[in-house]
Each structure stands twice: as structure tokens, then as C-alpha cells.
Symmetry: C2
Subunit: 329 residues, 2 copies
């Protein structure tokens, strides 16, 4: 069997998780890791795999079947997505919800020109949660869909608290509120504010002599990030932070409540729940499954940008249609 | 907009739920209900809709876009599936897991001859649970998948207890065992026997003067249905049975436990859970969503039998690709 030849563009947490994920997908092999920085500075885990500069990618069009884009959604992907779409089948986890339509359009244009398949926004939210929101809406047309995140580390919010004056280090957990989840499951169809759905809990290592009251005030009143939530701030030691808060756990829950019957007398709930020790590991695994789909679609002569809901589930699997019917249907 | 013209073949619990479900799918209309019995004996809920005999279906090929097959999997569908596939796009909920491959082949042959699209095994298990087993296996390749059913009424087991001597009426609940679910979520990757996964609870109305000890013995020792499970038998009055056990609730849970990381040190769980007041209502709604997919695929010139994992989620939705990206991605 010809293995699917994978390239990784960007070697942060997500890129490293993709590298490790490839080991558990027997039909894939890692060809190279691409970076904007000095390639010789990368310490690659996989023996025998080379690092290349982004500029070298153009020479490797024939050596790579799918390029997995592991840059950030804020600064990297808006540029890198269209750039790589001009040369490769790609998969990314672009997750700025408000800008997906615009990003999709930019990638689609390049992908149609190059004749490649580019999978956009393929993590778990957007990604697996999007899939579940679409299925749930289709099979329970009368109802409401609710998404909760956590308990887990939000990297954006953790970055935000580390920029507060007097903060040496810190981590922020997003925690869904049980009362809200119960109200949804019960069928109340509640209108929930940001504050009613999640709370935010911060673990802070303060700099020596810093004004803790001021730090707490600066965090809980920070617009966009914290002012719309109930936020708890705990000061801990650097050792505690390292010991208890150095992972990247996350997860979440999509719930659909819906009604059926002559007088809408029957209630139903559909729940899709993820509990993840490592947010980047699961995201990476989802990207790899959609890389398989991109490879297949490309071999069928298809091109353009696609989202997760455009792909038949069977295209994500390394198993044949007969095996899937035998094992999973 | 041209509405999708739906026919219903078979008018039991499922057929009636499909009829009601169409009301909540604004892009569909019910054209007719088909029966093996005397059409004039059917009491159809929807005003203005006619009943027809199966034999009349052949004259209505141009009037119906998708025929929803609502017969039973044991006796009806093995014959009706291929029969209607020769004339119509079809959707069914064929749920005899061990015979799906054989049934698929028979329907596929007819569908390819007639140029129609026939969606096979599209309820919730097989159906939505199958989809989730495939996704979970693809995105967490190192791990195990477990399916639990209930709490809910098993119609097959309820039929079985009603055939026991001395039983006037009865209902059987399948109940998943919390210990097993917890072990799976914890990551024990347990090997679970039938008895360790579910218990069976029977509510029995005995005939006057019947030997209750004998009834209980006959039920709990019944091979295939009960002997491999811990089974509880409760005798209740006919009034109680009607009052408390006349619905058809069901549900279940697909759990994937998987591991990632350099030394498989990160644990993850994916759960898909359904809690349903009405098993036939939810099944009907799933069939209707896949009817929409069958209609679209047929308009694209595709033919043959398909399962749920062959269909992109977007094909189930009444919303456009742009709307889906806006609302759900």
C-alpha cells in the first residue's frame, strides 16, 4: 500500500501532536516539518525526518500528499492557509468562528486554482462539534442546540492573564456551569448569557511584591476576556502551577434538546461530549483523519475548500466500506 | 421551492412517526401511504393524504421522490427493500446487525439496475451510533469503542415475554449497568460480557390463576433473550402497565476511550448519548434526514445502496452550505 505522505507546517504544540499522531495511523508517513524559523534549530522527535524552511515547500509539491497547517488562527493561518493551498492539499484547524466564512473563501479560491483539496476548520470546535451541531439540527428540527466548553485550559485567556501587570505566570480554566447544562437537558430551552454558561478560574503566580488585589481587579474587569463572566482568581506558587497545571486538558459538550409528536409531546436529548487530557493531541488526530479524506477526494479529482460537514464519515477511516459495514454499522 | 415528495411504505408505529415528522421538515410533503393490507382500513392522521396498496406503487414512480420503508427487519424489509429499490429512491432502518451485509447487497443490486439511491440501516442503531463509532475509531485510533443501550423498551424482548405461558401482557426494559459505563470512562478497557453490560427488567401482567413462579422461571431461563442477563421480573396490574409503561422510550450511549502521546500517556473519552421519549419518533426523524440526502444524491445522478457513513453531514440538512458555515461551523 502507498502510504499517505504528510507534511507539517508549524512546529508548536499542535505540530508536535500531529507528528506523534502519525505513528498511530499506519497508512500515513511523515515526510518533513516546515517552519518559518531556522530549520536547523528544530528538535524533531521522529528520527530521520528533516526540517525545512517554508520557502523550500514549493520544491516538494510532488513529495507530499497533504500538508497539515499547524499555525495559529490569529496571525498565521490567514496568510499560510491560502499560501499552502496554492501548492498542496491541506488540512487546518482555523478556529476564529467569526472569520471562517472569509477564510474559507480565500482558501477556496487558491485551492480551485491549484486543483487541490483544502479542509478548513477541522479540530473539535470547530470540527467534531460542528458536525454534531449539523446532525442534531437535521434529525431534531424542532429544538435548540447548546455548546459548552471545558473543563479545560483556554490558551487565549491564559495568554491574556499573563499580560497583566504583576503576573509572572498563570493558567485559565473555562468551566461549564452544571445548572445551565441541567436546564438544557431538562428541556427549559433557556436563553443563556455568557455568565450563565461558563465561569473562569485563574491560577496566578504573582511577581514578588506585586499588588494581588490590583491583579485580581485587572483580571476580573478585563473586557472581552473576563468582564462578562464570574471569574475566580487564586494565587499559587510557581511549583504548584508546574505540578498541577502544566497540561493542556480540555473538552466540552454539544447538547440538542428537541421535541416530536403530534402535539410535540415527546422530548429528546442528543449529547456529544469530549473529555481530553490533551487538547492538541485530539485536535491533531482529527486533522489527520481529515487529511485522509483530503487525500482521497484529491485522488477522485475533486478540488476546492471543504469543511468537515462536506465529508462522508467513511472517508476519515482507514478501513474499507465492507470493513466499516462489518465492524461499525 | 420544489418540495421533496415522500411516500411511506408500512403504517405501524414507525410509519406514523414518519408521517408526523414530515410536518417539521418544511422542504418535504407526504404524497401517500402504502400498505400490504386493505388501504381503506387505514386511518391516516394527515388530512387529504391517501392510502394505497403496495401493488399501486409501480404506477406512482413519477409522483414520489423518496419512499420511506417502515416495515420490520425480520419479515418485511428483506423482501420489501429490494422490491421498492427497483422503483424508488428508498430509506430504511434495517436493524438486524448480523444480516446488514447481505441485505445491503440485495438492495444495491436492485438500486443499480433501477438507477435509484437506497439508504440502508438509517435509524439510531444502526444509524447515528454507527456514524459515531466510525468517527470515534478514526479520530482516536488507539482505543476501544463500547455501545450501551437503554434505559428503554426493547420491542423484541417485550414480544418474547408476551409469548410465555400465563402472561397476559408485559414490557421489557433494557438497562445499561453504571459500573460498566464507569469502567469504560475510567479507561479500564474492560472485556464485558452481555451480563456485565446490561440488565433486563420485565413488568408482567399475569393471567388470572397463572403460576407466577413458573412465569418468572420461563422468562429468566429463556435462551438468547434472557438467560445471558440478570433479569428482574415484576408482576403488576393491567392498569399500572397502561399507566406507567405504555410509551416507547429508549436511548443509549456510544463511548470511545482512547490514548495519545509519545508513551500513550494522554487519555480521552468521546461520548455520544441519546435520551428518547419515543424511539419511533427519533428513528423516523433520522430516516427523513437521510431521505433528503437520498433525494440530493439521486439528483446528482448517483445510484446504488448507501449506508449512513457514505453521506456528508451537510446532505442531511435543509440549510445551504453558506448557512451551515454561518450557523454551525
Amino acid at each position: 500500500m502507498n502510504k499517505i505522505k504528510i507534511g507539517i507546517a508549524g512546529y508548536g504544540n499542535l505540530g508536535k501532536s500531529v507528528e506523534l499522531g502519525i505513528r498511530h495511523n499506519k497508512d500515513m508517513e511523515l515526510i518533513g516539518i516546515f517552519t518559518r524559523r531556522d530549520p536547523s534549530a528544530l528538535k524533531i522527535i521522529t528520527e530521520g525526518v528533516q526540517a525545512y524552511h517554508f520557502d523550500q515547500a514549493a520544491n516538494m509539491k510532488d513529495k507530499i500528499d497533504v500538508m497539515i497547517l499547524c499555525g495559529g488562527s490569529m496571525a498565521d493561518l490567514p496568510e499560510q492557509g491560502p499560501y499552502f493551498a496554492g501548492m498542496f492539499n491541506t488540512v487546518d484547524g482555523f478556529d476564529t468562528h467569526a472569520k471562517i466564512a472569509e477564510y474559507f473563501k480565500a482558501v477556496d479560491k487558491k485551492a480551485l486554482e491549484s486543483g487541490k483539496v483544502c479542509m478548513v476548520s477541522c479540530g473539535w470546535d470547530p470540527g467534531m462539534f460542528s458536525i454534531n451541531r449539523v446532525y442534531a439540527d437535521a434529525i431534531l428540527p424542532e429544538g435548540g442546540t447548546y455548546t459548552f466548553w471545558g473543563k479545560g485550559i483556554s490558551q487565549g485567556h491564559s495568554d491574556a492573564i499573563r499580560r497583566v501587570k504583576g503576573v509572572k505566570d498563570g493558567k485559565q480554566y473555562t468551566i461549564p456551569l452544571d445548572d445551565a447544562i441541567e436546564a438544557v437537558k431538562r428541556g427549559d430551552m433557556p436563553e443563556l448569557s455568557a455568565r450563565q454558561k461558563h465561569k473562569r478560574v485563574c491560577y496566578i503566580v504573582a511577581e514578588e511584591g506585586a499588588d494581588r488585589k490590583q491583579i485580581e481587579h485587572d483580571i476580573v474587569t478585563m473586557p472581552n476576556y473576563f468582564s462578562d463572566y464570574d471569574t475566580e482568581v487564586y494565587f499559587i506558587t510557581e511549583e504548584e502551577l508546574k505540578k498541577n497545571h502544566s497540561g493542556l486538558p480540555h473538552g466540552g459538550l454539544v447538547i440538542r434538546f428537541g421535541k416530536t409528536g403530534l402535539n410535540l409531546e415527546n422530548n429528546h436529548t442528543i449529547e456529544y461530549k469530549l473529555v481530553l487530557d490533551s487538547n492538541p493531541d485530539l485536535t491533531a488526530n482529527v486533522l489527520l483523519a481529515f487529511a485522509r479524506a483530503a487525500y482521497r477526494l484529491s485522488n477522485e479529482g475533486i478540488s476546492g475548500a471543504k469543511t468537515v460537514v462536506d465529508i462522508p464519515p467513511a472517508y476519515l477511516s482507514d478501513k474499507s466500506a465492507e470493513e466499516l459495514r462489518e465492524l461499525f454499522i
